[in-house]
Amino acid sequence: MLVELSAENLTKRFGETLALDGVSFKIDGKGCYGYLGPNGAGKTTTMKIFTNLLRPTSGHAFINGVDVRREPVRALRGVGSLVEDPEPYGYLSVREFIEFAARIRGAPKPDLDALKARLDLPDLQRRCSNLSKGQRRRVYLAALVAQSPEILILDEPSSGLDPKEAQILRDLIRELKKDRIVLLSSHLLYEVSIVCDYLYFIYRGKIVEEGSVEDVSKKFASKALKVEFYSRPEKLDGLLTHQFEFEGERHVVVYYDGSDAQRREILDKLYPLGVRSFGDAELGLEEAYRQVIG
């Protein structure tokens, strides 16, 4: 069965502000896809278009080949979403809300005890209006799980959660991504690096970089060289024309354009100062984010 999420030249304007500027991507395999960018980059706007909360100014969002704008009911049939800061219905108990979420999709009656244990849910008889933010978020996630969607769209799902709740969420995503698509927007690099398989960097409404977590990390890591000296080197300022920074006393990270020529030039200059070891700096996602988005 087709499980696919794609954006075709998605553009969204809010008056004079261009929130999305021709975003295109295609996700067609199971796994967790990170949608990474700073606040205001266009992450939530994209998520809202995919969940029919916003209409694109131009372009199309397709879910399983169905245009969300034209046929929202059909497109959203297999989609569970957590966008912005949603709340379960306050007048319902935890049990009632989760059962309602399943019933509205025609899903089988959920195993509430299993969900309670898995997500550390509060007392099932408690009214949702009386829950803390973290509890409400877990109840909401339980409702999504009860709906058994084949695609999950999660917009900064760990926002406002304490470390324990965030861990529960990450464990859940890792489990869910095994047999479905999870599109996860976040600006938390740690979270993205441990749950996502593939990344899209969005900045000022455009996708500016994409690739698997390993490839992206490697790509940017390879543009920095980490050199270890026997003792703290002196006079680096006059010696190196490249940007560099100390990591502790004896380690220096030097940034360059990734070319072999520059790499050789840097090492030739540094060898006389007593190099003990060197290698690609393992800067990973953080550096990728810093370089792509600034």
């Binding site: 809202k48 979403s81 800061d85 709340e87 007048y91 979420a101 509205i104 909401y140 409702a143």
Partner: protein
């Protein structure tokens, strides 16, 4: 199936709101107050069942209006709060959501309305050993009026993000603005205010009269002529029904296109 789920959930919502839990006993108490005062001999007993029913219906219209405004005021606007991020992302047509909301708000208002009618009928039977002959028609037009008011208030709800604002606006329009416009148009200008639902609702109390009032009565006060219109039964029903249709269409047009920015 989905519609039934939506309807029952929304009815649960309305019947669990503090609004409903306050207005139901409050309006029941207020409806029973005057007959109880009559029975206690504090106020004089109306001469016949017609006068008694007319007095009761004068309050009835206000209660229906307030019940509908208070209950349906957030019927749509609550989707533009955090709960909407769940509701509107479900694979359900907005028309179905709106219809379920309308019917559940109407059902909740209906419960209030039937309790009031039941109290009125009960006292009428006890005090006059009967009810006015048109009680069925009065109840049916009352139901249509409640449905129409619910749709009218939902229209305001679709235009506002705040439930409180839509409730207050609807009440101000129905209780203050429309009667003022009606007075100016009807009494002073001599034009029939056929475009006002509050005017059309006079059908309900007119039906309780022994003989239905004439369509137009004019009286002279010095050099000034005062006009007093009464809607015919069919005319009143048509106006009330027109409000139901137009308000429903406007609410639907706004709701179906609204975005959650």
């Amino acid at each position: 199936m989905v519609f039934r789920v939506l309807y029952s959930e929304n009815l649960k919502f309305y019947t669990r709101t503090r609004r409903f839990q306050v207005i139901l006993p409050l309006f029941a108490l207020l409806s029973a107050l005057e007959p109880l005062l009559v029975l206690a001999g504090v106020v004089p007993k109306p001469p016949d069942v017609y006068a008694f029913t007319q007095g009761a219906l004068a309050q009835f219209s206000e209660y229906v209006l307030l019940a509908c405004a208070v209950l349906a005021g957030d019927a749509i606007s609550r989707d533009f709060s955090r709960e909407g991020y769940f509701t509107l992302t479900q694979p359900v047509r907005r028309s179905e959501i709106m219809l379920a909301r309308f019917l559940s708000a109407f059902t909740a208002a209906l419960i209030v309305l039937l309790v009031i009618v039941g109290i009125g009928v009960g006292f009428s039977e006890y005090m006059y050993s009967g009810v006015v002959p048109n009680i069925i028609q009065i109840t049916l037009v009352g139901l249509l009026y409640a449905a129409s008011l619910t749709a009218f208030v939902m229209m305001f709800s679709s235009l506002s993000k705040s439930a409180a604002l839509s409730i207050v606006t609807a009440i101000l329009v129905l209780i203050i603005a429309m009667p003022i416009v009606q007075s100016v148009v009807e009494f002073l200008s001599g034009v029939e205010p056929w475009f006002l639902i509050t005017y059309a609702s006079e059908v309900i109390s007119n039906l309780a009269q022994q003989s239905y009032p004439p369509h137009l009565v004019t009286e002279r006060f010095g050099s000034r002529t005062i006009y007093l219109y009464s809607p015919g039964t069919l005319e009143g029903v048509a106006i009330i029904f027109g409000y139901l249709v137009v308000s429903g269409l406007v609410a639907w047009a706004v709701y179906s296109r609204k975005e959650l920015k």
